[in-house]
């Protein structure tokens, strides 16, 4: 399924090695992310992506294309971004 970054979401990030912090401007909410989750969201910055393609690309970059636990982790991260409203289904 295709997902896109919500154009109404305005994020500011700060990264420190193994963790990142993001603030969503409209709500003022602040979130802590691990590097994998941050990298997954970054996949969608270039445009709409198929979910599996984004996950596969990230796993390939990590040198672990068939790691099922990582797959599961990334799927959970994706669900989190969708629940936050940061990723929307379709071509936003």
């Amino acid at each position: 399924m295709l997902f896109s970054l919500n154009p109404q979401i305005d994020l500011i990030w700060r990264d420190w090695g193994d963790e990142s912090v993001a603030m969503e401007a409209a709500s003022g909410r602040v979130f802590l992310f691990d590097p994998l989750s941050s990298a997954l969201l970054a996949c969608f910055e270039s445009g709409p992506q198929q979910v599996q393609a984004a996950v596969d690309s990230l796993l390939a970059d990590l040198g672990s294309p068939t790691d099922s636990r990582l797959q599961e982790f990334l799927r959970a991260a994706l669900d989190r971004f969708v629940a936050l409203g940061w990723l929307l289904p379709g071509d936003a």
């Binding site: 500011i12 963790e19 990142s20 401007a25 709500s27 003022g28 802590l32």
Partner: protein
């Protein structure tokens, strides 16, 4: 002229009439009341604070009056008004002095948006500021009061005011509010500390205000550069622990304790991120106050020796 230079009679006349206006750091308040306990409490706690000349602009106008209507209260009550609008539920007259402190805190958080307002104690030593961000009940005010009596300059016990442009912490230099057993803990730790008469039976229990040292009040216009951010957590029986907190987690907690971050937006977040990047961030777990103070002093001395 300082507030304490007014005699009690003159002070009472101003409070009953045009209002008593004084300044704490960047905030000035005008108060009107006929309550003798408030008069006496202000004369004691704010003796070293500068008065604001009559007629000059003040950031807020507070009135404390006993309601005329028979509300069926069993005890004499007092109603607060800010800028002539009622605020908060009436409280017993015996709690009027803590009410003044609550109103001053409210004023900072409601109107002080030219600063980033962090729910934190703030102190300074040798030009370097220490922030103690923590939710209520973590022991930050008690620790702050103790550090004040061990060579640290009081900037604030409740809200750290961070300048958007410079990142400096600006003092309020107001009395330190302590509650319940913390009052006796601090009396034992620092017998020289001076307290207001305790107010019993408040929603937070027994409250007392520790007077800010005169020398600290005199330096209320001297901000300081934050160097340490220590997240304190008092816990009975805890083993003393002062350890580095990962920067991302420090920023996350700092944002949680910043009361006006939603108004400050990206600029506020960026300023807090710079603060975290530039500061040493640590977690402090402790039971004994003396141990916590010693650990913080050692932390400060380590950076002194490092130059």
């Amino acid at each position: 002229m300082k507030l304490g230079q007014l005699g009690l009679q003159a002070l009472g006349k101003r409070l009953r009439g045009p209002g008593l206006a004084w300044r704490s750091g960047p905030f000035s308040i005008r108060l009107r009341t006929d309550l003798v306990a408030v008069r006496d409490g202000l004369h004691f706690l704010y003796a070293d604070h500068p008065l604001v000349p009559g007629g000059d602009f003040c950031d807020g106008d507070i009135t404390l009056r006993q309601p005329r209507a028979a509300w069926g209260w069993r005890r004499p009550m007092v109603q607060a008004h800010v800028d002539y609008q009622p605020i908060f539920e009436p409280v017993p007259v015996a709690h009027a002095l803590p009410l003044v402190e609550w109103l001053l805190n409210w004023h900072v958080t409601a109107h002080g948006h030219h600063f980033l307002t962090v729910h934190a104690a703030a102190l300074e030593r040798d030009g370097k500021a220490l922030l103690l961000p923590a939710p209520s009940g973590s022991g930050k005010s008690t620790l702050c009061a103790a550090l004040v009596h061990r060579g640290w300059r009081l900037l604030s016990d409740e809200y750290a005011l961070i300048d958007f442009a410079t990142g400096l912490v600006h003092p309020l230099a107001r009395p330190v509010s302590l509650k319940n057993q913390s009052i006796e803990v601090l009396r034992a730790f620092a017998p020289e500390a001076v307290f207001s008469a305790p107010a019993h039976g408040t929603p937070k229990g027994t409250l007392a205000q520790m007077k800010a040292p005169a020398a600290h009040v005199q330096r209320m216009d001297e901000p300081a550069c934050p160097v340490w951010i220590v997240f304190p957590q008092w816990s009975p029986g805890a083993t003393l622990l002062l350890q580095a907190r990962p920067k991302a987690r420090a920023l996350l907690e700092l944002t949680r304790q910043t009361v006006n971050l939603d108004l400050a937006g990206h600029d506020g977040f960026a300023r807090l991120a710079e603060l975290v990047t530039a500061s040493e961030c640590l977690d402090l777990r402790y039971d004994m106050l003396a141990d916590a103070v010693a650990a913080i002093d050692a932390m400060a001395q380590a950076i002194d020796h490092a130059g």
